[in-house]
């Protein structure tokens, strides 16, 4: 009963914590504490193997990315080193993130640095990763992050300063883009095709329909300061979680369902004016919230990570009945 992702330890000792949520859901147990050689900037766990994850790390001046495997524990807590499965060492510039395909087993990885997009093919038995293809994002764009479309194994979205770009991995070409600036995080709706949620620094949260990329189908006000992280619930339609630098996590209910087909924009406006999409705001954080994840097992549980290194697990069950 692993809760979502492992917590990221931005400590000076650079550790990776493996955290387990107890069966009754009231206690967080640290199962393992592994040291990591460098400062971690991004951490993603493998969707099909809970012992494998990737990190993007910085040595101060240069960046690197690697795939790791958590060793078998056999009871002891102060464990040895992490086993490195593969090193993603083709990058030159600042690596931003490494992506897994969220919807199932796929031996491909995508890593994004400021200028390039890499597609890796990972062979975990041989402990090696090969660059399958690589494409430059263009001179004018500095990529900052991305997300892999859970509905289409060949499509990923990458964020850059002024837009969100969509790439086809087969041809490694840019297919389309949405003009939206300074996106911090993007997340695909895993239940609904074509729905993408973006979190921007100042303008809050936007929900997009990828078939109509001119205007967002919905806007949420976001946070008092920047909106940093956003995550769509894997099970409940329109349930969106956002974390911001105003030390709060907001739970939104913004169903996009059939409404975008039935009503026009104006109708939507009036409707969204009537119903406050903000369901709840969790404000008992000491500092900015940077990490968010829904539990894949129990979709009403989420974990959040704030700057002070605290992982908070909450259940949204009390608010689900309002649906």
């Amino acid at each position: 009963m692993q809760a979502g992702s492992s917590g990221v330890g931005y400590g000076l000792k650079y550790q990776v914590h493996l955290i387990r949520l107890s069966a009754d859901g009231t206690e967080l147990i640290c199962e393992g504490l592994f040291s990591h050689p460098n400062e971690i900037w991004d951490l993603r766990s493998c969707p099909f193997d809970q012992r494998i994850f990737t990190t993007v790390y910085s040595t101060g001046e240069s960046y690197g990315a690697a795939v790791w495997q958590i060793p078998e524990l056999y009871g002891q807590l102060n464990s040895p080193q992490l086993e490195r499965v593969a090193l993603l060492d083709a990058h030159v510039s600042k690596i931003k993130c490494v992506l897994w395909w969220p919807s199932g087993r796929n031996d491909k990885l995508v890593s994004i640095d400021e200028e390039n997009l890499f597609l890796w093919s990972l062979d975990s038995s041989k402990k090696a990763a090969q660059v399958q293809s690589k494409e430059s994002a263009g001179t004018m764009h500095y990529l900052s992050g991305g997300a892999w479309d859970p509905h289409d194994v060949n499509s990923i979205a990458a964020t850059c300063e002024s837009s969100v770009q969509f790439w086809d991995l087969r041809t490694m070409t840019k297919t389309s883009s949405i003009d939206v600036s300074h996106v911090r995080t993007i997340d695909y709706d895993t239940k609904k095709d074509h729905i993408l949620v973006t979190a921007e620094d100042e303008t809050g949260i936007h929900i997009w329909d990828l078939r109509k990329t001119k205007v967002p189908i919905r806007e949420l006000p976001g946070h008092t300061h920047w909106t940093w992280a956003v995550a769509c619930n894997p099970e409940y339609d329109g349930l969106i979680l956002s974390g911001g630098t105003d030390s709060a996590v907001n739970l939104w209910l913004a169903p996009t369902g059939s409404r975008d087909e039935i009503t026009s924009d104006s109708g939507q406006n009036s409707l969204s004016l009537k119903v406050d999409p903000l369901v709840n705001s969790y404000t008992d954080y000491e500092d900015s919230v940077y990490g968010l994840a829904w539990s894949s097992r129990e979709p009403w549980i989420f974990a959040s990570l704030s700057y002070d290194g605290r992982v908070v697990v909450e259940s949204v069950k009390p608010y689900l009945s309002r649906k």
Partner: protein
Amino acid sequence: MAIEDAPLDDKAKRMRDLLSSFYAPDPSVAGGSLPKGASLDAINTDSFDADQYMNLLVQRANLEGLLQKHVEMAAEIKNLDTDLQMLVYENYNKFISATDAIKRMKSNIVGMEANMEQLLDKIMSVQSRSDGVNNSLFGKREHIEKLHRTRNLLRKVQVFNVIPHSRKLLLFEELFFCGKEQFIYDLPARLGKCIKAEAYADAVRFYTGAMPIFKAYGESSFQDCKRASEEAVMTITKNLQGKLFSDSESIQTRAEAAVLLKQLDFPVDGLKVRLFEKLEQSLGGLQVKIGDVADALEESNDEQENDLQLGFAVAHDASVHEFVETVRAYRVIFPDSESQLIKLSEDLITKHFLITEQHMKKRVSTATFLRVLRIIWDDVLLIDHVLPEALLHDYCFKVSQSAIKQYVSSMFSHLLDDVSGAMMKVHPQQNNVAEEQLQVALEAGKNSLLKGSMDLLLGFRQLLEDNLDLLVKLRELITDWVQAGFQQFFEALDTRFLLLSGRIKSSPQDQSLSEGLQSEKISSGLVLVLAQLCVFVEQTAIPRITEARTEIAASFSSSGARGYEHGLVFHPTEISRVFQSASEKFLHQYINMRTHRISVLLRKRFTTPNWIKHKEPREVHMFVDLFLQELEAVGSEVKQILSQGVRKHRRSESNGSTTSSLSNSLRDDKLRRSNTQRARSQLLETHLAKLFKQKVEIFTKVEFTRESVVTTIIKLGLKSLQEFVRLQTLNRSGFQQIQLDIQFLRTPLKELAEDEAAIDFLLDEVIVGASDRCLDPTPLEPPILDKLIHAKTAETKEQNSSVASPTSQ
């Protein structure tokens, strides 16, 4: 043998056929079929076969029998031959006698033809004689018959004379005064006399009186009389028609003419149509005049032009009178034409209102509107007088309802345009030198809103207090409309504001409005003005309007209850709420716009340099200036619009100082420790500090005061700064640079902001964040820090003075 028989056979066969047809008793019976097994008795049948018979005979009979048969047969043949011979002779005899008879007939017929011709001649001469006799007698017989008929008639008339007066028709009386048959004969002359004297009524009376007689006997006895009098009547009809169409004749005469024409069975319908067309034409002219009047009224807002206005009014009155007269005439002339006339006058009223509504598209003062209404109402009254069946009152009410409603709504939309027009003025000179510009715009907006709505209320009051029947009856409705109008006006105002601020995309019909307003280019000042204007609406305008409204409504029976049913009520509280939330939204938008600019600035500052290879800090970085400039701009905008709040001069001894002292001690601590130790304990210390520190609420509710807005913007800016710092990895020099910049910012920011504790906290947070992200967080030595800051302050002062000096000269 058969071949020899062949030529003979044809003839013989014909012969036999003829004979057999002649002699055979019944050929059909004779032609019956025979049994195959022929017997000897079949000798007399048609299908007798001689060979077969012979064979049969030879087979059956013995020689003696055969011989006997032979003898028998020979005798029979002989008998038959003689019979045949006899018949031939007989026939020949008959033929000879027939030939004789024919010869005799021929000789007898020869003398016949001559006799027949003689007979024909004689018959012809008899016929011509009889024709001659007939002809010579015909004229006389005719005359006799005519005389006889006249005699009969006269006899009848005489009988009539004997009958008592009571049973007589009036017209027949006339007949007798004039002397019976003499009257009919005198009729044409009499009609002629009447035409000369123009006594058409008498003429028609005579003619119609004579009509039955003409009908009965016109074909015969009084043929000539009839023809003559019909001619006379034709002239009469013509004269009458002329009279009917000549406008110079009095209505009475024309009406009489029409009646007479009708009596003469003249097809009046055509005339009616023609006259009606004429009426419609005059109506068209009238409408044009109405348009002129409205025009004139609209233009003549000045007192001086009142004369002109009056002139038009008089002209209008005259034309209306004319119309009314015509209608009256028409009614008298054609009494059964109400429906047409009603339609016509309804058209007139509708047109009136249409024109008025068209004029309403431009701005029309209430007085003018009232005057126009009054004119229309006068028209209605006039027409109503002539045409009470038209129920023009009710119709007018119906039509005027929509007109007044439209008037009310147009007044509101004008007001809306005024207010948004005042706002639009802010836009073009964005960031201009004109300092007071925002204030001016705000004042203009406030003024136009308040004054406009007061004027509106006054205007409506005028409408309500006017004792024009029309308005009195519609009073309740008008109050409802005004109420609903205010409600809608404020709703529209809200949307208009949103549109102006670019929060919502304009719909196509507002394209013209938004053309100049590209969403990116919306000035932040405008948004601030809008925010403050919303506050004004909520706090001042609505209470005042409500007050004024109740004052007005109090003078009449309030129609509140009815209005509630129709949902036509002005809800001040609801509107207040709407504007309250709108004002907050705008304020937030303003803050957002401003912080956005700041964060763009900061982003540039923090993403461009390579922090890990930063050089020694030599001076305060220039982004600080830009940051302060932005804040200054905010300050100047805010100063124009927002009021000064009660400055909370809490030096925050308890809160702020502890924080700063704590963080100061933190820094001091850091200084004393060795680098290796520091790194380990740093995180713990930060957390410890936070534990003991009261959590500073950074993001508090924004108030509508200068300080609150500025403070919020500073807070957000600093928070962004903190986040940007956290995203970088710094070397020692980078850290020191940030330390220096922040230290420099501390004083000016505290001067600007009201919540010093929070500012202190955030500034410290930036430094803590920077040290967190620093590979070697060694702060600058305080003396160096002071020196650099001092240099910067001196420089800024110098700049300020140099900027200030040219303006003072």
